[in-house]
Symmetry: D2
Subunit: 370 residues, 4 copies
């Protein structure tokens, strides 16, 4: 663990596996908050080059710099600023589309582009639970890309959709994955404390959240947290996804933090008698997956950081580890009712949204699926 | 439910049961944050009159107005301002002492005053679990004052100590009491999101908590939440306290709210087959206890408000119900793992601290124990 | 200065000058944030009775409880909850209308009702600078109601409009009024730090303001602050308003506070050689106006509180003085460049908006103008 | 202006003027908040190598990792973590000392080390106004290092002290420097809105500042802002510092932001008739100084960024420009009373403190003064 974690350039300068030329990509929903993160994270990407920005609303036809009302604390990349916003539904030149579309339009639009032959890497919730659409976290279930072949057959062409999970689910699934693999999880309780950025730029009024906590998120948030992890930690058997057999109870809260979803977790294991907490902490910190093996450009060195200290992880201190791509876990300790308790943290707009999708696309490229 | 809830004067103008003259009281630890709340809440109290302010530190001998560095948004009461701060340990004229002492000194000092014949109504944690010291919430366990007789015998005089629970525990115990009585609770998970005022004026640095959540409170907070409710919801059998037989797992967090501890709760019942959620919501809202029967001056009309709405209760909107003396409960719904889930809120420095102690003292007066 | 300031009931129980029966009133724009404050402050008002709620949008026809999405930390008054929302423009039964309409519709709608014979007491900016419309702060310029006669003639009936100033201007004008009267003000610089509630419920996104300050308010805020005080502190000469002859430079900022606009002020006096700071502090604190003489129900005992202490006034500690109806002033001291500097604070949604309008209406009633 | 501004490594990889070997340096007051920033910013510095950490308190003798209670969102550098904390006053091996000492001890300790032959680059206020101590902002007054020769004579050796200004003053002086040079400033009003980190880790209690603004900073903050800029923008005539002849009125406020001091400024110019706002905006943005000419490692490419947009600069969006080393200016516009108004922003703990001192030391090295 060293200071360079957050100081390194977003992408390693020397990269073996890079494609011979950068792949042109489009961002759907480019003016929204997830779309802006896509634009920011794609700036300087070694494999992908932002070529088109697409929006469904009145911003079509205007320069992106003007349409976006850029909100991030990173400056708007110069190249992106000059792009003209295209209307959702228009024919696109890019073979790879990142979708940050609102769920009110994502379902149909993503299907449409996939049927036209595009690869759609989506952050939207609409197709996550489709029976032949991977719900990908490359460190956990890279094998789920096996479903793409079946999906392509259904669509009758090259195009397909892959999705990344709900922002809280990314944190939860990654945090529990090493434990699930070693000891099996039977059931878990999770209470989330979610940052305002999860609701998009204008999603949470300041008058609603200053000096306050709201014990509700809306949009079936608890239901997503209770159902997506089983698909993610399950397996693709060549025909269908087989869910992992644990059950979840989720209670969600909005808190006045800017970025970073924090969550307390309590879980019952299938085999708890062999648990050694110190070994388990090391196993969590040592966890590696396909992106680390493949050296994907956006992959963190360590997908999960076990953070020592009674009062960690904390959103402001830990969310930016490895440019927001690592999940942090701490306070692993026994539970008086179940077996284990712990605290987990995920940067909701990076690892939990745009960064997750970009890592997914990198996996697809590395596996020859673009 | 009406607007007058938060508009009424702190104490009803006409009050039948009031003592013939106001009882002189002292506040121990009067310059601290709990002590200041005592001073504020005692202003205009119909039964008690602030007569002495006591502190353990260098403020002894100075006028209270100068020593207190008054922090509350209520103005410092004129009468209190002029009192000279007495040194902890000095002989006091008041027969009734409210203690907001820091736990580093409370244990010995409270014992000492009780042994000298004073009635000590304490907010400190030191004596809460003593085998003959009531851990009182008058709506729940007014019968626990039966232990006073035994305690007086031990001390050989008139003096004794009663305590109120940890601030989070007040909220938790009150919120679950109606359910415990109707259906029996077997076990529960609780995750708290606690306000900064719970740590005292200087307890949480702004640099630590702005744009942040800290998954830790310190001082055995989780242990207190896991053990105090069993004593509170248990009974005094004439010889000893018999704990209620449920088990608790508590995970605590500090969030950037000023007042009001919010908590998510999931519980398993002893008899769950007869639960009707609508009836249970009414039962929670209809819950009444001894303070309501006796018409104690600080008693809320309703100890628990069941708050409808998917996103309630919320600290800023609901903490001040009935001058901060009511607990709010909402989102009662089934749990996929256990039986019931809900959200509860308590004003931590009023119902959870100084107001709790004052209500305790009112019960003692009404029962002829002063 | 005593604790009862913030503890008193909103309206004094015994009131001499009250009308024989409560006057039925309507609130225009009742579902907005200013409208909700009107509804809250009118609850229990001794002279006025909320009779109609009016809105311009799709909420017409629905019960107010459902249409309002009530946001205040006070509970929605029961009587108001049951009222059916009327459509803006409909004939109203109430002779007195409080307007919290958005400025996009207020101009025409208020004119329309005034021309139909209603008395419109408005918080909107549209008619503030009209040559026969009083811009009232009853403590400062009660004589401006002389313009009503002329306005009635123009409209050809009983109806007319009176307005209250911009929320920051109320604080500024009240804070400087005693100094203007004693020493004359020639020019002043003011920098405001304004609370989020000034922008209405959804006005400021939390993602925009958490851990941030925005040096801009929009809507000509600086221009209003630079021009309204001259009309307020000027006089009605029987024919027209004669502006007070000082000049203002205003710079505005949005800060992450919930209620209470704080401002730093530096001013040059016309006659500075006789200034005695201690006497001036007393003069500010002793300032009284027509509402205090008339004993209007909403009038604060002291319109301005001079708050001692190097670090006061502060929004959270001082905004609620006298139920939010008093302005607080502190840190009066010399300016190295001009003559005097000071800090002022106003509760922007009470004294700076709905409370201001209600006090205006009380003045009109006391003066026989309803 | 491009996204790479905040993405670049802290120090350029190829650097011509670097010393043949890295100079060992010590940090005085290393466990405090400024000291921690020194440690963070020195990590990987191409010219300086952290060799010793020094503290005045009980942390002496302990490993830095344990003594520091590291608070920054950057991880504690590995090399620093292992250093043993030395006691203030001990003999040090490093010829160059960075001082983040508290002003209660800085005065004597810095003098002592300078008299022993060390070069002390201090962020403390104690020696800023000494007649032979440079108060340096290298972009503005690199010529002030002429005073070092005289100071060395006084001390009778190689050692000397240079200081950087108060954090707000760095922002103010840099923001007005291009205007002062082009048009001359006669007088100015400034109101600051300062971040909590300016008070050190535990300096501002969260209970004091959440939902609040405090119109006071303490420690003669206003006096420093009113007097330091004249020395900075003045000149060294070979014998003494000749102050720039303008006058300042400063009013200060603490606001709930984490980093970044924002300020509104209004100023009267000596020659205002030739002002062209567009040209002046360009001049501000084009401003360069000695660090840019010399290519100092910590120097920003542009010392001042003129930020367009009605509502900019904002602390959260603009404070990190060029790794926190650039000041941001916006809203340049006429003032109704004086000539010009504008808004300025400085990252108070980087450009306003530790980063300022490191840039000072780089200037000294580049000029052969170490």
């Amino acid at each position: 663990m060293d200071a360079s974690d957050t100081l390194t350039l977003p992408y390693a300068p020397a990269e073996e596996k890079r494609p011979s030329r950068r792949i042109p990509v489009a961002v759907l929903g480019a003016t929204g908050s997830v779309g802006q993160r896509f634009v920011q994270l794609l700036d300087g990407h070694p494999w992908f080059k932002l070529h088109e920005v697409v929006a469904s609303d009145r911003s079509a036809g205007r320069p992106y710099a003007e349409a976006a009302e850029w909100r991030l604390d990173m400056l708007l990349p110069t190249d992106a600023a000059a792009l003209e916003v295209k209307l959702l539904g228009a024919d696109l030149e890019s073979p790879l589309l990142f979708s940050g579309l609102d769920s009110s339009v994502a379902g149909e639009a993503e299907d449409d582009y996939a049927n036209r032959g595009c690869v759609v890497v989506s952050n939207s919730r609409n197709h996550r639970m489709d029976p032949d659409v991977p719900l990908l976290i490359p460190e956990l279930n890279a094998d789920h890309i096996g479903a793409i072949d079946r999906q392509r057959k259904r669509r009758g062409g090259h195009g397909y959709i892959v999705t990344n999970p709900n922002c809280s689910v990314v944190g939860l699934a990654m945090a529990i994955a090493p434990i699930e693999r070693l000891h099996g999880i039977e059931e878990l309780h999770v209470t989330t404390m979610q940052a305002i950025s999860g609701a998009g730029y204008a999603g949470v009024a300041s008058y609603a959240i200053l000096d306050n906590v709201i014990p509700y998120i809306g949009s079936g948030e608890e239901e997503k947290i209770e159902s997506e992890p089983q698909k993610i930690l399950g397996r693709w058997d060549g025909e269908r996804f087989i869910d992992a057999p644990f059950r979840i109870s989720a209670q969600v809260n909005r808190v006045p933090t800017i970025d970073g979803h924090l969550m307390t977790i309590s879980m019952r294991l299938r085999s708890s008698n062999s648990v050694n907490l110190d070994q388990l902490r090391v196993a969590i910190d040592d966890f590696r997956g396909e992106p680390q093996v493949l050296g994907l450009p956006t992959a963190p060195r360590k997908p999960i950081h076990y953070v020592h200290g009674d009062d960690r992880p904390q959103p402001r201190l830990d969310r930016d580890r490895e440019r927001g791509m690592s999940v942090s876990v701490g306070r692993l300790r026994p539970c008086p009712l179940l077996d284990l308790r712990m605290v987990a943290l995920v940067h909701n707009t990076i690892r939990g949204a745009a960064g997750a999708a970009i890592l997914n696309a990198e996996l697809l490229e590395a596996k020859g699926l673009l």
